[in-house]
Symmetry: C2
Subunit: 92 residues, 2 copies
DNA sequence: AATGCTTACGGGTCACGTAATGATT
DNA sequence: AATCATTACGTGACCCGTAAGCATT
């Protein structure tokens, strides 16, 4: 489970639509599908219930989203906090 | 910046020794070096000061570690919380 | 037939190990 | 010379897109 995949999961959890998710992240729909599938295998349960006209979070997916979102954002802010205004490489 | 790399960073920040870090994570020393280098490029500043006999966190590295550790652990617990006791796949 | 998700397939990229190199004590 | 980190280099793995397949309306 890598950050890029978590981003895909969280975006789909928000959009509830593979096409829009793919568009927002500038990847193919196939990629979104494969990524979700992979994460479902990793977790051991479906994260979304796909009917033909609807995509919705399962109970497990909901739990995952709730726990993951703040942690994911925490990583972003941690990196942003560390990044210096201007590159700060000492002479090497 | 992917989770696997963050794990390497956090482990090195704890061990302050490339060899032990590599051993703990079951990867090569080279991998640790390459990974850290990559993250330093991403952040825009050195994360560790390596002298021949010592490895220590820079100020930037310290900030990153402080922010990253709780977020990283949060991801682990989020996944653990979601994972069902027994696989719960509906009939497909 | 149109819309939306999944599966098959292939190629380009890069993760990661081995080996060689450099630096310090 | 021993110890520790970096760099060079090659290969296997996997990411990810295109295209075909399925299902539903």
């Amino acid at each position: 489970m890598e950050l890029r995949e978590i981003e895909i999961f969280l975006t789909l959890a928000e959009e509830l639509h593979f096409g829009r998710t793919a568009e927002r992240l500038h990847v193919s729909v196939s990629r979104v599908s494969q990524s979700i599938r992979k994460q479902e295998r990793a977790v051991g349960a479906p994260l979304f219930a796909r009917t033909s006209r609807k995509v919705e979070l399962t109970a497990v997916g909901e739990v995952l989203r709730t726990g993951l979102r703040p942690a994911y954002e925490g990583i972003g802010t941690a990196v942003a906090a560390a990044r210096p205004r201007r590159d700060a490489w000492p002479a090497r």
